[in-house]
Amino acid sequence: MADAVLFEFLHTEMVAELWAHDPDPGPGVSAEPRGEEPGAATGQNMNLSVLESVGFRVGQALGERLPREMLAFREELDVLKFLCKDLWLAIFQKQMDSLRTNHQGTYVLQDNSFPLLLPMAAGLQYLEEAPKFLAFTCGLLRGALCTLGIESVVTASVAALPGCKFQVVIQNS
């Protein structure tokens, strides 16, 4: 079992590399909202989607690997519970803090101390930078669900570091 730190460092490097950032922002200086530049917004979305699709591929593989001794999941909620417990434990060595649902295919998974945000801040410092560090994990959840036969859209939001929420919306085809 590889040390957790390896994944953390690799992840931060992926974010830095795949997220075409300003060449040289100082520490604590958030990225300027670059809405003025034409094409900047699409560029940002595209960069997030690269990270997200990397996570998707990893999530797919983990979805195949992890539920070894389990029988087929009976319902959606079991699958989501599996994500909160086993998947999170495998990647972050902890379980998700809470899982809420409206019973109409929308789930909110909350982690009050998300490991990838943990070293950064406790509060609002670096809040603008946080979404980049969640894209990979959104893809991870989407990929694992996809393998288990559930099409979904996963988004993340941060109100204050290091907590974050992942919203999973199941696509009923």
Partner: protein
């Protein structure tokens, strides 16, 4: 030179036993400095203060390695003047931690190492948003460091 020596004398801490802490990296950059007291600050500008401190530590280390009989890399641990003792710890990477306490303190290498490993490494090195090699901006680092130093047994003696 004489002027420099006069300046160094003024570097004496304002209070007998209030900790000051300096973190330097290998290129003479002061990563962090905290002073826990409410006394008047020295009139030296900060940059100069750092420079003096760094050159003092550097010279002492050089001096110690020159005069010691055995070849010991980390032989400079602490020195004391009339009322305070300055503890020093240098990592393999060249990060230097210096902290002063009152005279009675034994070696506090473990404290200085904890500041480096549990605080600097965890909250600065692991945080990509903090660029290495310049003063630490992370608020989390500052607050954690503050509460850690406040929890130390010898801090309670501080008149701050």
């Amino acid at each position: 030179m004489a002027e420099n020596i006069k300046r160094v004398r003024r570097l004496e801490p304002c209070s007998d036993n209030c900790p000051h802490l300096y973190l330097f990296d290998q290129n003479e950059v002061c990563l962090h400095q905290s002073k826990w007291h409410h006394k008047k600050q020295a009139e030296i500008p900060k940059e100069e203060d750092y420079k003096l401190m760094y050159s003092m530590l550097f010279s002492i280390r050089l001096f110690v390695s020159k005069i010691s009989q055995l070849d010991m890399k980390n032989s400079f641990l602490a020195f004391h003047i009339s009322k305070t003792k300055l503890h020093y710890y240098e990592m393999a990477t060249g990060i230097k931690v210096a902290m002063n306490t009152d005279l009675g303190m034994g070696p506090i290498g473990d404290v200085l190492y904890h500041i480096y490993s549990a605080l600097y490494e965890e909250l600065v090195v692991k945080n990509t948003l903090c660029s290495l090699g310049q003063a630490v901006q992370s608020e989390l680092f500052h607050s954690r460091l503050d509460s850690y130093v406040h929890s130390l047994p010898f801090f309670s003696a501080c008149a701050g």
